[in-house]
């Protein structure tokens, strides 16, 4: 039964390799589960998020500081975004959140402009000041209408 022992060992190595690969992907790439999930949550309500989805970047001063965790409709009218912000970043109460685009046709992301207040938002708080997505169609029509006047 020496043979079977060897089979057992190789199977063990195989299972270990497989689980290691799966674990590496889950933690490094997917940020799955309690282990990988760090940071605190903030909410913000927008008139129009312009296609921001869960997983979209949250940036401050051009640096990624978190990810969008969830986007859903609030009160049948507005869009509420739940954001996960890295623990080491503190956001002032009067900070300002806006929807931006990387380049002209690139991905949408949420830009947070830091405020002046000394008190900071905690887990579950809301960013009050928001600006909705800049819509190229709106800009164009605005330009046309202003030309008419």
């Amino acid at each position: 039964m020496q043979n079977y022992k060897r089979i057992e060992i190789t199977v063990g190595i195989f299972v270990f390799l497989g689980l290691l690969s799966a674990g590496w992907m889950a933690i490094k790439l997917g940020q799955v589960g309690g282990l990988g999930e760090q940071g605190y949550e903030l909410r913000a309500v927008f008139d129009d998020v312009g296609g921001v989805r869960s997983g979209s970047d949250i940036m401050m001063a051009g640096v990624v500081i978190g990810r969008v965790k969830d986007v859903h409709i609030l009160d049948n009218r507005k869009a509420e975004v739940v954001m996960r912000i890295n623990d080491d970043v503190r956001i002032a109460e009067d900070a300002f959140a806006s929807i931006r685009t990387k380049g002209i046709i690139g991905d949408r992301y949420i830009r947070i402009t830091q405020g002046m207040e000394e008190t900071f938002l905690a887990d579950g708080d809301e960013i009050e000041e928001t600006e909705s997505a800049l819509n190229i169609e709106d800009l164009v029509s605005k330009y046309i209408f202003s030309g008419k006047e």
Binding site: Y4, I7, E8, T10, V11, F14, V15, L17, G18, L19, S21, A22, W24, M25, A26, K28, L29, G30, Q31, V32, G33, S54, G55, D57, V64
Partner: protein, 265 residues
């Protein structure tokens, strides 16, 4: 002459089609009954642990080399092709995300399943078919060992567990090989490559890949054992069953892949 005589070939065609469809349904039903019967022994004594380990070896360890090779080349070719396309839009920085997403969501599970079908699935069918021809299944029965519990069950369970593990290894090798080609060979910025890859892949993508791998593994186990168990007890019968098992499992994987993808998008 019968005025509708020219329709006869059409009737014959539909008759054949209908008969084949009924045979297909019959086979689906039989396969379900066989695997359900085998799986009902999962928690029953005697425990088939040792046979399960042997099958994990045959399905997993023996497929490892081919999985590593195909994983590496898949990642490399994806990086080349992706670079060629993305460079036209000046978005080479997305290469990492593109390679990793294609592998994790689609190519890992599907190509991994194809390799396991070709490498291990066909040999499962042939092995069980030969046991049928040489009356080994009857011999087990006469020695008071249930062939469904002893032969079918460990293979289905091992396939269901081995494929996700193989796919995980395939994914990691493919992503690493894609990185080497993209960064070292094509000169994509390594920081951008990794950052975009990490930013674009979500737990959702990974879960979709796992679900596919588990479902495909189970399908391979069920189809390949069923085809062997039901093969005609002749040498030609076993050869035919083996070919059919490979074809049915491969086509089945692609069809189920579409259904699963539409659920998980």
């Amino acid at each position: 002459m019968n005025p509708t005589g020219f329709l006869t070939p059409f009737f014959a065609f539909f008759g054949r089609l209908g008969r084949r469809f009924l045979m297909f349904l019959q086979a689906m039903g039989d396969a379900t009954v066989l695997s359900a019967n085998a799986l009902s022994h999962l928690l029953r004594r005697p425990w088939q642990g040792r046979h399960f380990v042997m099958q994990l070896h045959a399905l997993g360890v023996d497929s490892l080399v081919i999985i590593i090779i195909t994983g590496a080349f898949t990642g490399m070719v994806l990086a080349l092709q992706g670079y060629y396309t993305l460079a036209k839009f000046g978005s080479e920085s997305l290469l990492g995300a593109g390679v990793a997403l294609s592998i994790i969501r689609e190519l890992g599970p599907v190509l991994g399943a194809f390799m396991v079908i070709g490498r291990a699935g066909s040999s499962i069918t042939a092995e069980i078919g030969i046991m049928r021809v040489t009356e080994q299944l009857d011999a087990l029965q006469m020695m008071a060992v249930n062939p469904k519990a002893r032969i079918i069950l460990p293979r289905i369970v091992a396939a269901t567990i081995a494929l996700p593990l193989l796919v995980a290894i395939f994914d990691v090798i493919g992503i690493a090989a894609g990185y080497l080609v993209g960064v070292e060979l094509l000169g994509v910025n390594p920081g951008a490559y990794v950052a975009e890859m990490m930013a674009k892949i979500t737990a959702h993508d990974l879960n979709g890949g796992w679900v596919k791998a588990i479902v495909f593994g189970f399908m391979i186990g069920v189809i390949c054992t069923f085809m062997g168990y039901r093969s005609e007890p002749t040498t030609e019968g076993v050869a035919r069953a083996t070919t059919q098992a490979v074809v049915i499992a491969s086509v089945g994987v692609l069809m189920v892949d579409y259904i699963l993808t539409s659920f998980f998008l």
